[in-house]
Amino acid sequence: MSEKSQEHFLEMVRTHQGIIHQLASLYADGQEERKDIYQEVLYQAWKSWPKFRGDAAFSTWLYRLALNTILTLQRAKRPMAVLEQAPDTAVEEHLHLEDKERLHAAIKHLADMDKALISLHLEGYSNPEIASILGMGENNVAVRLHRAKQQLSQKLKRV
């Protein structure tokens, strides 16, 4: 890869590093795992960068790659639908936090695929775009989003 291409990649990654930061924060348990996710996503992005043709926006490309990477990493076993089972204290710890941080904490307790759905939705992606990124049907996206929002709303009300 030429130095120019490398610089372009680094510039793009710096501009969109919020995507990596946000997804790693949602999926990692602890700082060490977050660091591993940063490295893995950046490694994969770096290796795939020569194939990036710009057909999609860089942010969408990076989002899809980051999700594919994080969801296929060998991580510690987690319950799939933990919101109802999550200890209230885990969320109550965040009582003092600002709304955005409370929302982030609540999303963190969703099942892995719901986290992806909600974070894409909050990013402003439309349902067809989310369906395309995740490989789900549009109706399924709408139903799952509705359910995930209900779960979030219940959890946020309780705190």
Partner: protein, 194 residues
């Protein structure tokens, strides 16, 4: 929701890209490395069996060795095909479902190669080893050796025990290495359907 964070760990990771020091710990990379190790061992085993072919003069032992050579070739060919076709990078083009399916298929294919090897290769290897060892130890030919009392029963029992044992051992080894990862992927795939 995405803001411009300042995270020193992320900055450090970006700096590692610049320095060329960033590494992957992705299971696909581990799988590819395991496959390579497996292929190297298979080549060594093949060479050892090939040499053994010239050591033993008995036709039955030679047939057993030839059978093992065939299975080694078959298993190695499966591993080589998997190795060559294994793209160790995560796809940025596939959607999440397609990528999960792709990686799940790779791991389960590897699991089948391992289990089939356990099912076929080890028992034949053990039986041939048993006959070769018995022949050398007793100073008799295979035809004479199997006439000894309990030899056929011992051989039969060892095969009956070894086949399920080796199969389950291969299954357990895969489960230890990648079992939880494969289960997680399956759960995620199911959660995309529901």
């Amino acid at each position: 929701m995405v803001t411009e964070p300042f995270d020193k760990d992320l900055e450090a990771a970006i700096a590692m890209v610049r320095q060329g020091g960033i590494q992957s710990k992705h299971p696909l990379k581990r799988l590819k490395r395991n496959l390579l190790i497996n292929i190297c061992w298979a080549i060594i085993i093949f060479a050892a069996f090939f040499a053994a072919l010239f050591v033993f003069n008995d036709v039955w032992i030679r047939m057993g060795i030839l059978l093992m050579l065939s299975f080694t070739l078959w298993a190695t060919w499966g591993s080589i095909r998997l190795y060559v076709g294994l793209q160790p990078l995560v796809s940025a083009e596939n959607n999440v479902k397609a990528e999960l399916n792709r990686q799940y298929a790779l791991f389960t294919r590897w699991m089948k190669v391992q289990q089939n090897t356990g099912l076929v290769f080890y028992p034949i290897s053990a039986a041939t080893g048993f006959m070769a060892g018995g022949m050398e130890g007793s100073g008799k030919s295979v035809a004479e050796f199997i006439q000894l009392p309990f030899v056929m029963i011992a051989l039969f029992v060892s095969i009956i025990v070894l086949v399920p044992f080796c199969y389950l051992l291969a299954k357990w080894m895969f489960k230890v290495a990648f079992g939880q990862h494969v289960d997680n992927m399956k759960q995620l795939m199911d959660s995309l359907e529901n």
